[in-house]
Symmetry: C2
Subunit: 328 residues, 2 copies
């Protein structure tokens, strides 16, 4: 009964996944039926529907002037950071990696949108950012389209029928995102089934399946926030509170990789005006953006509760626990 020693299970998990799955995202010609959608949910695999939301009022009519008119006189909550790094692992002056949340402030919508547009058109993201004082991103993830931005809500679909029918629940949250190319959302995962709809500009998604746990170098980071000082500058302030478990590997950067990171095979997809993405629960995603000719990027997404029953969540959590053990 002698056998060759088994492959390291984490390596085997990643290579088996890579063998059985493509890094090309499935593209559907039109929105799926609930049954077709559920097949993707069952496999926990993403897809994109090109132009799936082309006929939405938002897609057809939104722009700086129309949004200003719709949100006339209103103020919104804005995330402010020095480098577009809201909710990101960031190095402090002591060169330690900590988890930094943005400074949050209320701004009039028209001031906000003029700021991001002017910043973008004056100095697109490719140029040096040293002269840029701050980056603003409207990115509250608190069901803002049914609250802060209620006056815009009738311009998008109230929910995604195929997702609601398949998942048997209305969306938990519907969120609007408005920013420019300076903002990047760091690699992270959410406990939601996510239908992401591009309205203006482009979003560039880098996606990794939940099995890639051991690739992303999750660490327990001390929490901090940017705070605006009296002189208007932003400074990092550490906070009391629980450590934040967060991936520290950047699939586009270097540093922080683990011995398994090379086995991660990202799925990359760019959403353009009217495109829809199904981003499955627990998938890691890093998101960057490009603007339209007005210097803005705008998207709407629908978060549906994921399924906690069955084997999927326990197995993903198991991959995480074994990954932690394999890396320490």
């Amino acid at each position: 009964m002698d056998r060759t020693p088994p492959l390291d299970p984490v390596t085997e998990l990643l290579t088996t996944y890579n063998e059985l799955n493509s890094t090309h995202i499935d593209t559907l010609p039109s929105p799926p039926s609930a049954l077709e959608f559920l097949r993707f949910v069952a496999r926990n695999r993403p897809f994109v529907v090109r132009g799936g939301a082309s006929d939405w009022e938002a897609t057809k009519t939104w722009g700086i002037e129309s949004l200003k008119a719709l949100l006339e006189g209103q103020s919104i909550q804005v995330a402010v950071t020095p480098h577009g790094n809201a909710d990101s692992p960031t190095t402090n002056e002591k060169r330690e990696l900590i988890f930094v949340k943005p400074w949050e402030e209320q701004q009039s919508f028209s001031e906000f949108i003029d700021f991001i547009s002017a910043q973008e058109l004056r100095s697109p993201s490719s140029s040096s950012s040293s002269s840029v004082p701050e980056v603003r991103y409207a990115q509250t993830q608190n069901d803002n389209l049914r609250n802060e931005y209620l006056t815009l809500f009738s311009h998008v679909d109230k929910d995604i029928p195929w997702a609601r029918i398949a998942l048997q629940a209305p969306p938990e949250a519907i969120n609007l995102w408005i920013g420019n190319s300076r903002s990047v959302t760091a690699l992270h995962k959410d406990n939601y089934e996510n239908v992401y709809v591009q309205i203006i500009g482009e979003k560039h998604f880098c996606l990794l399946p939940p099995v890639a746990y051991a690739c992303v170098a999750e660490r327990e980071l001390r929490p901090a926030s940017y705070v605006r000082k009296d002189d208007g500058c932003l400074e990092i302030k550490e906070e009391a509170g629980d450590l934040v478990p967060f991936p520290t590997w950047d699939p586009d950067g270097d540093g922080q990789e683990t011995k398994y990171s090379d086995l991660a095979q990202p799925v990359r997809v760019t959403l353009r005006k009217g495109d829809m993405l199904y981003l499955p629960a627990l998938w890691y995603h890093k998101v960057s953006q490009s603007t339209n000719e007005e210097g803005m990027c705008c998207a709407v997404n629908y978060w549906y509760d994921m399924e906690w029953g069955g084997s999927f969540y326990p197995l993903c959590n198991f991959a995480r626990s074994v990954g932690i053990a394999a890396l320490t």
Copy 2:
């Protein structure tokens, strides 16, 4: 950053699964739609439909005489064992556990059915088996209803529409099972989505989810078969060939348990005439049976290919590999 040492990941996997899932099987009032079915497939959870096949011609009309008439003059392949242990881990004279396949032989259908019925009615399984020379089970799993038993096929559904639509494929195999209470199918798993339909008598399923890998004491067993000697007796003959990885723990017995077996929470369900069971891919199942008043038990099952894409199979395989490592 000091933390309490994490729970053993295998223990955590099993307790998380148990917390999120019930040991009571879902019971549907009538066969599901394809969408409803796919929700169970997505969660990899079983369900039963009481009376879901009550109106099948087979359920309504099959019995010893009608089957004899339908299979008049035909011979069938029969699995013969001394104790009803076809395809089972069995102890040889040297007290080693080996994997023993049944002796297979062609018998006239009417002789076979008279044998199992007479054996059952003369001596139900509760009494001592010492006087019983052999146990017979018609259990070829080679799509026998579309081959050997073709003359019976029009009495059952050609396929299971909700499964075919959800899984986008016809059944890979449709199998007929005929035996008596002396046959027990040992705990094992299959790479198939299984729709199991009880026609006559009862089947008692003991089910364990794929996460229970570390509970079932899989071992690599040497292959063997029963062979009939000239005097008619059955004797074990070991074979050259690959070792057979097979669970050795019996959830109803003792011995062979692992340090994790206590965390296994079996789902138990008895199928009666006309009941249907969805037995999800990769679930361990042990199956025993009770007969009707004629002394026979008969079932039909539909095997559909499981989904290999996505994360489910790689994660189950990972749980197996980590389980092996945790137990050695």
